[in-house]
């Protein structure tokens, strides 16, 4: 990877057509056909599924100088996985490189292959023809000879488009780092193939009875608030409620209550009494359970959409990916019998990255203390040196909020709201942060000035952003932490796959892994080693630690604050299910009555 030069490489351009098995979203992939092109030999490889499934390796030779070129390579790697082929070491994903080249720039034609071709003024097939062919692939077989020829021809047209696109992008390439980004597609393929284990019967039951559950849920949760009328949230009633409770609710300039998700999230944190109402609103507004992609084997598989966010993070669909749903719905995640899952996340990752990148000695010391928030309070002189989380919970909490606020780019007003304190207190805390972590702030000012000068900012592994006009300066200051965290996660995933970890999904700055109950502890240890190595690779030997939560069958993935709402939903679900069964039995009995009567004669 490191020593390869563009001129020495042998490129193979490849594209697959595929669909989920039986056409059911959430199922593993079924390969339909493949076209590959070797420009050096001027040779095409066009194979239909029957031939592909016969092969134990790709039909073209892959040696240490071969680079596989694709557009959205994770899809191609998922096909490799489905075919049982060994993943290549060198992958150039032109989609990722196009994203990186244009990150922060508005693209009127989008970032698809067609959009990239148009960006460079290259010819392409029409979008309509592409859609028709995709539909044909998704329909599944049996295919007529004409349809087969059409699909292969379409597949080849994408491969033919890749070569000129590569030539157009060649001058922007930075090969070793391109290949590192490409290598992440192998980890993605593993995760997209394995998926997240779901309690399938409960999921199906919830989907079946969701309308009835929703109605009862509103009735039950709203009994404490009285803000719904015929299943509809009433602003007037809610205004009355907050007035009665003495809650000062944020308002728009017009005077109306702010009822957006963010406001509810913040207020539910400040006033825990509102948490069930927030979960209810969240569930009713966003939750389309049936959209969750769960395969026939009870695993949630969906496209993880790598490099979609401006910081290069994955951005999977919030309706198709189980971690995108309301928090209580994550209770559907349940390891199979004999198995366990583990959720492993870096401890205070952003704080640690900020400390390492800025090389602020006090910040590093705070991170290494294991409780950076308490250490911050100690460094500021707000608590004695022997203070603990138990002896000074209130002060620690304020310093924690302050440290987090600076990471989120929050100002005085936002922090004051979170602390339920006057703005003066928020200002004092933010000033203290600036004073205690002076080197961090000097570095942050430098990042900002540097970026404004060059109009560009990049991570330590080359993910870059061209600064958009409308970007919030605070987001820009936070970019090195977020984007290097994304690099760290990608490297950790690559290392984990290399070491045979069963990786289910990335979850923001964490991962979910799976193993048998007897091996889970050992697998967690290996995964945590990979995370340590990834942090050292990115941060130049500054080590970030991680926390792991192991869940064994029949346990569920439930964070503490989500458990009460999950329990409420499940209690209602059981009730609705029992009512439905009763109704069904009554119907059956009713239908049986004549026969029964007849028999009794």
């Amino acid at each position: 990877m490191n020593n390869l030069k563009l001129e020495q490489c042998k490129f193979i351009f490849v594209d697959f057509e595929f669909r989920p098995v039986d056409g059911i979203e959430g199922n593993p992939v079924e390969v339909i056909c493949m076209v590959a092109f070797d420009p050096q030999a001027g040779k095409y490889y066009k194979l239909w599924k029957d031939e592909l499934y016969q092969l134990s390796a790709p039909p073209f030779a892959i040696d240490s100088a071969t680079v596989l070129v694709a557009y959205f390579a994770s899809a191609e790697m998922t096909c490799f996985e489905a075919l049982g082929w060994t993943m290549p070491d060198h992958i150039l994903d032109l989609y990722v490189e196009f994203r990186n080249l244009t990150n922060g720039i508005f693209l009127p034609e989008g970032k698809s292959l067609l959009g990239a071709l148009k960006y460079f003024g290259l010819d392409s097939i029409s979008a309509e023809h592409k859609d028709d062919m995709r539909d044909l692939a998704l329909r599944g077989g049996p295919y007529s000879e004409l349809e087969k020829a059409g699909l292969l021809e379409y597949c080849q047209s994408d491969v033919d488009a890749l070569y000129p696109l590569y030539l157009a992008m060649k001058k922007y390439l930075d090969l070793p780092r391109n290949l590192l980004r490409g290598l992440y597609s192998t980890a993605l393929a593993r995760m997209e193939s394995l998926g997240v284990p779901i309690d399938h019967p409960t999921y199906k039951g919830l989907c079946l009875h969701w309308d009835a559950i929703k109605a009862k849920l509103i009735a039950e949760v709203d009994s404490a608030y009285g803000v719904y009328e015929n299943g509809v949230f009433k602003e007037v009633a809610f205004e009355q409620y907050v007035k009665q409770q003495g809650i000062r609710w944020p308002r728009h300039e017009s005077g109306r209550l702010k009822l957006d998700e963010e406001t509810f999230k913040l207020m539910a944190k400040l006033y825990p009494i509102l948490a069930p109402l927030r979960s209810l609103r969240d569930s009713l507004a966003k939750l389309r359970l049936s959209a969750l992609q769960v395969g026939s084997d009870g695993r949630n598989r969906c496209m993880l959409s790598p490099y979609q966010s401006i910081t290069g993070r994955n951005q999977p669909s919030t309706t198709k990916f189980v971690f995108g749903l309301a928090r209580w719905a994550r209770g559907l995640i349940q390891p199979r019998e004999g198995f366990a899952i583990a959720y492993i996340d870096w401890s205070q990752q952003e704080f640690g990255i900020a400390a390492a990148l800025s090389n602020d000695p006090k910040m590093k010391e705070a991170y290494l203390s294991g409780d950076p928030y308490l250490a911050f309070a100690k460094q500021a002189g707000a608590v004695p040196q022997d203070a603990t989380k138990q002896t000074h919970p209130a002060v620690r909490s304020q310093y924690k909020e302050c440290a987090l606020a600076t990471q989120y780019g929050m100002g005085v007003d936002g922090l004051a709201d979170r602390l339920k304190q006057p703005k003066l207190r928020a200002k004092q805390l933010l000033d203290i942060h600036r004073r205690v972590y002076k080197q961090f702030w000097d570095w942050s000012d430098n990042v900002y000035n540097n970026t404004v000068n060059k109009n560009r900012l990049n991570t330590l592994f080359g993910w870059q952003i061209t600064v958009p006009q409308d970007i919030n300066p605070r987001s820009l200051r936070n970019f090195p932490m977020q984007a290097n965290a994304a690099e760290m996660l990608r490297i950790a995933c690559i290392l984990m796959v290399k070491r045979g970890i069963q990786l289910c999904a990335p979850v923001h700055d964490a991962v979910l892994i799976e193993a048998t109950e007897s091996t889970i502890d050992q697998q967690v240890q290996i995964a945590q080693e990979c995370m340590v190595q990834a942090s050292q690779i990115v941060l130049g030997d500054f080590t970030l630690t991680s926390d792991a939560k192991v869940i064994r069958h029949p346990g569920r993935f439930l964070e503490d604050d989500a458990e009460p709402f999950w329990n409420t939903v499940i209690a209602i679900y059981e009730q609705v299910k029992a009512e439905a069964n009763e109704k069904l039995n009554a119907n059956v009995l009713e239908n049986l009555t004549p026969a029964h009567s007849y028999l009794s004669y």
């Binding site: 070793p176 000033d431 002076k438 430098n446 990042v447 900002y448 991570t459 490297i491 290399k498």
Partner: protein, 189 residues
């Protein structure tokens, strides 16, 4: 860990780009421009204890415009009692703002002035501790408030005292008998 996994770690490590966040090519942050004034009653400040940051001179306060001038010694004959000897001291507050403070020189022959003596005391304490001063009108002197917590080390500017005085008083130096202030007190147009 297997050899191949270890090799991969080494290979990825070698791809790390140089850290360009800590370099100064984005621009160097210049020190804040020093100003002249009194201690803030809100912000804590420290006073530079070094002799090299004490600048003894004559000053004139124009109470009408709220301006302070420094005066070259040869102009004292024109200014009479308007020119008062002061020791200019360098202070810096918690935000890093450098400020010139005029320390009075006590005249043993005149009446005791508690404003002056409390200010001098405050400056002396400020040499080693973070302080702020509040005017106590009832007691006709300053309340000196010392910070309860250690606010860290002050960030002193890198310029010399001469350079700072020159920057602060660049337009407010009386070195000529035709200076507008001298013309004004002499009633000259």
């Amino acid at each position: 860990m297997s050899n191949t996994a270890q090799e991969l770690v080494s290979k990825i490590s070698a791809l790390r780009l140089p850290d360009n966040f800590t370099t100064n090519i984005g621009g160097e942050k210049l020190p804040l421009k020093p100003i002249f004034g009194k201690f803030s009653k809100h912000r804590f400040a420290r006073v530079h204890p070094g002799k090299e940051y004490m600048f003894i001179c004559l000053t004139v306060d124009d109470k009408d415009l709220g301006e302070t001038y420094i005066v070259t010694p040869n102009m004292q004959a024109y200014l009479g009692s308007h020119a008062v000897p002061k020791i200019l001291r360098l202070s810096v507050d918690t935000t890093g703002l450098p400020k010139i403070i005029a320390q009075p020189v006590l005249d043993q022959n005149s009446r005791p002035n508690a404003w002056h003596s409390s200010l001098i005391r405050g400056i002396q304490i400020g040499e080693t501790s973070w302080i702020r001063l509040e005017a106590n009108m009832g007691a006709s002197q300053y309340n000196i408030i010392v910070s309860k917590d250690d606010l860290g080390e002050p960030q002193w500017p890198t310029q010399t005292m001469d350079e700072i005085v020159q920057e602060v008083f660049s337009n407010n130096i009386i070195a000529d008998e035709n200076h507008p202030y001298i013309r004004q007190i002499q009633g000259r147009l």
